[in-house]
């Protein structure tokens, strides 16, 4: 009887360990990676004139970027995205940059200093970054015509520029065929 009780408490302890382990694993395993379908995401554009949804870009190559006014590397990525817009918009690239700032005011102040020639949207409720489970700031996702994530870039470094451009060109080229 006593031996039984002992073994059951051990079993309970093992189960508790496993449960905690599972919860810890689940909280890190949710982030979107290559091949996953991009999460649904619908956000108002920065001037509030309309709501933009990722679903409406289906059939097009999308460069989705999550940025914030407090994020240092984002200042570097804006001129880069302007370049992408200038060079690749004509080939069908869609750029959507979503601010995760808690207040629209912060985002607007950033935009006044670092102007954007591409679509900028606000997600003050942080629904989209939660759905994508970003691993860093900024984070960008290259999404193909079928709506699948083809590349994820966490952070923005100088060496990412060539790689991102290459990945986009590959997808745009394939779509043209």
């Amino acid at each position: 009887m006593r031996a039984q009780r002992r073994s059951s408490s051990v079993r309970l302890a093992v189960a508790a360990l496993a449960a905690v382990g599972a919860i810890a694993a689940a909280s890190t395993a949710l982030s979107l990676t290559n091949g996953d379908l991009a999460a649904a995401c619908s956000v108002p554009v920065v001037d509030g004139s309309r709501t933009v949804s990722l679903a409406e870009y289906r059939g097009q190559v999308v460069y989705l970027d999550f940025w914030a006014s407090w994020c240092g590397p984002c200042r570097e990525s804006f001129p880069f995205m302007n370049e992408l817009q200038r060079d690749l918009a004509g080939r069908g690239l869609q750029i959507l940059a979503i601010s995760v700032d808690k207040t629209a005011e912060d985002a607007r102040r950033f935009l006044a200093r670092y102007p954007a020639q591409f679509t900028v949207a606000l997600d003050t409720g942080a629904a989209c970054p939660a759905a994508f489970q970003l691993q860093g700031m900024p984070s960008s996702y290259i999404i193909d015509k079928s709506g699948a994530v083809r590349a994820v870039h966490a952070g923005f470094r100088n060496r990412d520029r060539a790689e991102i451009r290459q990945q986009l060109l590959e997808l745009l080229g394939r779509d043209a065929k």
């Binding site: 408490s9 995760v100 700031m137």
Partner: protein, 75 residues
């Protein structure tokens, strides 16, 4: 209870306590909260300078932040 069983139970208790501790995970997109000026570890530079100046004036004889420099041998 055997030693192994005790260890397993102990490990479970420790892990459960750690898991329920008041640690919150700040997601990458929530770090703006930590970027607010009030979250800075140090005071703003001008405030630090002001405090040092006051402290230096108060403790001047005993040399507030540096080496005593009285020259009279009293410090």
């Amino acid at each position: 209870m055997t030693l192994a069983a005790r260890l397993i139970v102990l490990a479970a208790v420790v892990v459960a306590l750690l898991a329920t501790a008041g640690c919150a995970t700040v997601q990458p997109w929530e770090r703006g909260t930590l970027a607010k000026p009030v979250m800075a570890i140090e005071d703003p530079a001008h405030e630090t300078a002001q405090k040092l100046r006051t402290y230096g004036a108060k403790e001047g004889g005993a040399s507030a932040t540096g080496v005593g420099g009285g020259g009279c041998g009293c410090n």
